[in-house]
């Protein structure tokens, strides 16, 4: 399991717990810039938890706790005294179900990260909101109704709104936790296309329950099973000549 270099994100011996149950049993993994990494595996194998450890969101779940080393550009985000809030500004996240802020307009949703963190205001804010919406391929659909509620959009549009919201703060890493599982096929196709486009701007780590999706859009694939990282490598290799028997069984549909 070679770590590509220079690593943008470096995970060493990451363990995660809920109460006293160990969910991840020491994960090692590295990610280089401008890659799309897909995380596959049967449900409950810990891939979502892994993602949530990377922006320290796991510790916000009741009883959640993580151990180990995760470094972002050489800096350990679990080092004592590190403020998770600063980490999360560098690592964006898109969730399984679209979750726009219910009381905010489309504009306010995208602006929220910039505005509430006092990063931009006025004309600059407007420009960055527009840029983020363009990047998320949503601008043309919403430019005339920026003041409408975020909840008034369709599910697929809401998810792209959430992507725009995450992109607005320009995170070097974007985590996506099964971003298309709640969407119809057309919206899914749009988001997949978008992910490939976004590679130029950022690095994407995406959990997916859909192996075809992983094969289509990712550069590297990681296969999780029961809290262990079983296999990690270039997507073509993982899908054509997996080195672990369990990976092969999973991707050929023999279990899971």
């Amino acid at each position: 399991m070679m770590t590509p270099s220079p690593a943008l994100l470096e995970v060493k011996g990451l363990k995660a717990f809920v109460e006293s149950t160990e969910i991840l049993h020491g994960i090692d993994l590295g990610v280089s810039p401008h890659e799309v990494v897909a995380f596959i595996g049967p449900s409950g194998c810990g891939k979502s938890t892994f993602l949530r450890c990377l922006n320290r969101l796991h510790e916000e779940t009741p009883g959640g706790r993580a151990e180990g080393r995760v470094s972002l550009e050489g800096q350990d985000i679990y080092a004592v005294g590190t403020d998770p809030v600063r980490i999360r500004r560098r690592i964006g996240m898109v969730f399984q179900k679209p979750n726009p802020f219910p009381s905010m307009s489309i504009f306010e949703n995208v602006a929220s990260g910039l505005r509430l963190n006092r990063i931009a205001k006025g004309i600059e804010l407007e420009a960055r909101v527009e840029a983020a919406l363009r990047e998320a391929a949503l601008w043309n659909e919403v430019k005339d109704k920026l003041d409408a509620s975020g909840m008034s959009l369709s599910g697929g549009q809401q998810q792209r709104l959430c992507i725009a919201r995450a992109l607005a703060v320009k995170p070097p890493v974007l985590l996506m936790d099964e971003p298309t599982s709640a969407l119809d096929p057309v919206s899914t196709a749009k988001i997949e296309e978008l992910v490939i486009q976004l590679k130029k701007e950022t690095t994407i780590l995406m959990v997916t329950h859909n192996m075809q999706q992983a094969a289509r859009i990712s550069d590297r694939t990681a296969f999780f099973l029961y809290g262990d990282l079983v296999e990690y490598g270039p997507t073509t290799k993982v899908f054509t000549t997996p080195s672990d028997r369990r990976t092969e069984e999973y991707i050929t549909g023999r279990f899971g």
Binding site: V85, R86, R89, R90, R118, I119, V169
Partner: protein, 306 residues
């Protein structure tokens, strides 16, 4: 982290500390309540002693401060209220959940909730000028003529008195008890109701056996909550109970509850009299605190029934 001006995470810290400050204030208020009431009542303990306080005679000018008449009045009026309110609340909750069509049930539920929105003093006013004349001229003479041989229904008729207080209290606790019964009935599994019906039972038997009997512990919880409301209810009771510190078997006789004694006497009381009223308030606080703990523990242990 160059391009991001870091808003110091002190925001979180100060925010949390402020909220903790609020919490501490709440603890202080609760502690202060006990401390100040004890401080208010202590002189009575010292000057007249517990024997006097636990006597049957409340007569401030004669330095008699027995609070038993108030405890009696509180208990009997509250139990009377439970007696009246329980069947009505159970019926109202059954009607609401099982019998009425959905929209009528919703309207009915709304109206019962409105019953809780009417201020106590308005119930008192209505009790004074509507209920009491009715009791004095129709209900109580009727009861005395038919059942006068029972001590409860004997003695002179005033209108104001225990029966009036119990009746008004019953009206005031009905919304609370109905709400609890409604929740309890909702929690009865559909399979249980269907099981009873499948045995060839009528709808009435299903309601009685399947819904009401199987909810006994929940209904009891509702009754205790109703009781704790009735014990502390003040204004309406003060206006209709007759404000007389006596113990009499007759439901027609005027009485006094702990709450009504405090309400009607504190403003003009001084010295030991005031302090004795502080004792009354302290007893009321302890009783309501005890009922609160009891309900909480019962909820914790009987949590599975929900």
């Amino acid at each position: 982290m160059k391009d991001i001006p870091v808003e110091k995470n002190l925001v979180d810290l100060y925010f949390r500390r402020t909220l903790y400050g609020f919490a501490v204030l709440a603890f202080l208020l609760l502690g202060g309540m006990f401390a100040f009431l004890i401080d208010l009542g202590l002189p009575a303990f010292r000057e007249v002693g517990p024997a006097n306080l636990l006597s049957l005679e409340w007569n401030p000018p004669l330095k008699s401060f027995g609070i038993l008449p108030f405890i009696y009045g509180t208990l009997v009026s509250s139990l009377l209220a439970l007696l009246f309110s329980t069947p009505v609340s159970i019926a109202a909750a059954l009607f609401l959940t099982e019998i009425a069509p959905r929209r009528i049930g919703a309207l009915f539920g709304f109206l019962v909730e409105m019953l809780a929105a009417i201020p106590s003093v308005v119930y008192g006013l209505w009790g004074l000028f509507v209920v009491i004349p009715w009791l004095r001229t129709s209900v109580e003479p009727f009861l005395r003529d038919r059942f006068g041989f029972i001590p409860l229904f004997s003695g002179p008729i005033y209108g104001v008195g225990m029966l009036a207080a119990g009746l008004i209290l019953a009206i005031m606790i009905t919304p609370t008890m109905t709400a609890i019964c409604k929740e309890v009935f909702h929690a009865v599994p559909r399979s249980l109701k269907e099981g009873v019906l499948a045995l060839g039972s009528t709808r009435a038997e299903m309601l009685w056996i399947g819904v009401v009997s199987s909810s006994r512990s929940g209904i009891l919880g509702g009754m205790i909550l109703g009781l704790s409301r009735a014990l502390g209810e003040t204004m309406a009771v003060t206006m209709v109970i007759g404000n007389t510190a006596e113990i009499s078997m007759s439901l027609f006789a005027p009485h006094q509850t702990m709450a009504s004694a405090v309400a009607s006497e504190v403003a003009e009381a001084t010295g030991v009299h005031l302090s004795a009223l502080g004792v009354v308030g302290l007893v009321l606080l302890l009783i309501s605190g005890f009922l609160f703990l009891f309900l909480r523990l019962a909820l914790k242990n009987g949590g599975h029934s929900k």
